[in-house]
C-alpha cells in the first residue's frame, strides 16, 4: 500500500499543475520563437536548445508522471536513455568537432 502515497498525492489536485506546466511550455515556445530573431551570436543555439531541454524536462517530469512515479525503475530507464543519447551525440562530436583538417 505504500506505493499508493505517491499516486494519491498526484491525484489530489493535479489539474492546476498540468495547466501551469502547459502555460510554461507555451511561454517557452514564444520565447524561443522571438529569441531566434535577435542577434545573440553563438548563444542563439544555446538559448534555443536550453529552452527546448527545459520544456522536454517539464513534459517528462509532470506530463509523463516521472516526478510522482512510485516505481524507481522508471526513473532509471529515463536517466539511462538520456545518458545513451548524450553518449551518441557527445562521442560523435569528439571526432567531428576535433578535425581541423576537414
Amino acid at each position: 500500500m505504500t506505493e499508493h502515497t505517491a499516486s494519491e498525492r498526484s491525484k489530489s489536485s493535479p489539474l492546476k499543475l498540468y495547466f501551469s506546466v502547459g502555460a510554461a511550455l507555451l511561454a517557452g515556445t514564444y520565447i524561443t520563437y522571438r529569441a531566434a530573431f535577435i542577434e545573440l551570436g553563438p548563444f542563439n543555439a544555446v538559448v534555443a536548445l536550453g529552452i527546448a531541454t527545459i520544456k522536454a524536462t517539464l513534459v517528462v517530469l509532470f506530463f509523463m508522471h516521472v516526478w510522482h512515479a512510485g516505481e524507481k525503475l522508471i526513473k532509471l530507464v529515463v536517466i539511462t536513455t538520456v545518458f545513451f543519447l548524450l553518449l551518441l551525440l557527445g562521442l560523435t562530436l569528439t571526432d567531428y568537432a576535433t578535425r581541423p583538417w576537414s
Binding site: T32, N44, V60, V77, L85
Partner: protein
C-alpha cells in the same frame, strides 16, 4: 484458502501474477518507457546526422532553414503542447472515473493532432511548389547565406538540409498518424466504459507515447525552423 479468497476480491483486469493494480500499472509504464528508450535512439541517429551536417554546411543550412515558414512551425508547436495538456487531463479523468471528460479530452486531442497534420500538409505543399524537395526537380539557386553578403548557398548542401527536414518531420508525422490510430481506439474503449480507476493502462501508456512525440517536436522546431533567423 487465503489465496483463493484474495482472487475472488481482486479486480477482473488485475492479472494473477501482479500483487495489486498499482504494480500492474508500474510494470506497463516501465515496458512503455523501455520502448520509448528505443524510440529516442531511433530519432537520436537522425539528430546526430543533423548535428554533423549542420557543422559542416553551417551557412547552407541557415539559408535553407530560412525558406521554411517559421510561424507555421511555431503554431504547430503550440498545437502539440495543447494536445499534451488535453492528454494529461484525459489520464486524470480516467484515474478519477470521469467518463465524459475522458471521452471529450481524447476527442480534443485527436482534433489537435489532425490540426497539426493539416498545417504540416500546408507546409509540405509550399516546399513542393518551391522545388525544395530533394530529388531530380530540386532547385535552390542564388539563395544568399545569412550574414555573408555576396555568398550563395551550395544547392547540394541545402538539399541535405531538406533531406533531413523531410525525413525528420516525416518520421515525426508518421508517429502522429500512428498516435491518432491509437487514440481512436482509446476513444472507442472509453466510449464503451472499459476504463476504471483501477485499470486505465492503455490511456496511461498511450499518453506516454503522445508526450514522447511532443518532445521530439520540441527539439525539431528550433533545429529545423529557427536557425540563422536573426539579421
Amino acid at each position: 484458502m487465503i489465496g483463493l479468497h484474495h482472487e475472488e476480491e481482486q479486480h477482473p483486469e488485475l492479472l494473477h501474477h501482479f500483487a495489486e493494480p498499482q504494480q500492474q500499472r508500474d510494470a506497463a509504464s516501465l515496458g512503455m518507457w523501455a520502448f520509448l528508450a528505443t524510440e529516442v535512439m531511433f530519432f537520436g541517429g537522425l539528430f546526430c546526422a543533423y548535428l554533423i551536417y549542420r557543422r559542416w554546411y553551417f551557412g547552407d543550412f541557415g539559408a535553407a532553414s530560412k525558406s521554411i515558414d517559421a510561424t507555421l512551425g511555431a503554431i504547430n508547436t503550440a498545437v502539440l503542447i495543447c494536445s499534451s495538456v488535453t492528454v494529461v487531463v484525459a489520464v486524470w479523468a480516467a484515474q478519477t472515473a470521469r467518463k465524459t471528460l475522458l471521452v471529450a479530452m481524447l476527442a480534443v486531442t485527436m482534433l489537435f493532432g489532425l490540426t497539426f497534420l493539416g498545417i504540416k500538409a500546408v507546409e509540405y505543399t509550399q516546399k513542393f511548389e518551391e522545388h525544395h524537395v530533394p530529388g531530380p526537380s530540386f532547385s535552390f539557386d542564388h539563395v544568399p547565406i545569412p550574414r555573408h553578403p555576396g555568398e550563395y548557398a551550395n544547392p547540394r548542401h541545402a538539399e541535405i538540409f531538406f533531406a533531413l527536414y523531410f525525413v525528420m518531420t516525416g518520421l515525426h508525422a508518421l508517429h502522429m498518424v500512428v498516435g491518432l490510430g491509437i487514440f481512436s481506439w482509446l476513444f472507442y474503449m472509453a466510449w464503451k466504459r472499459r476504463f476504471t480507476p483501477e485499470w486505465y493502462t492503455p490511456i496511461e501508456i498511450g499518453g506516454l507515447y503522445w508526450h514522447f512525440v511532443d518532445i521530439v517536436w520540441i527539439y525539431l522546431f528550433p533545429l529545423l525552423y529557427l536557425i540563422d533567423r536573426h539579421p
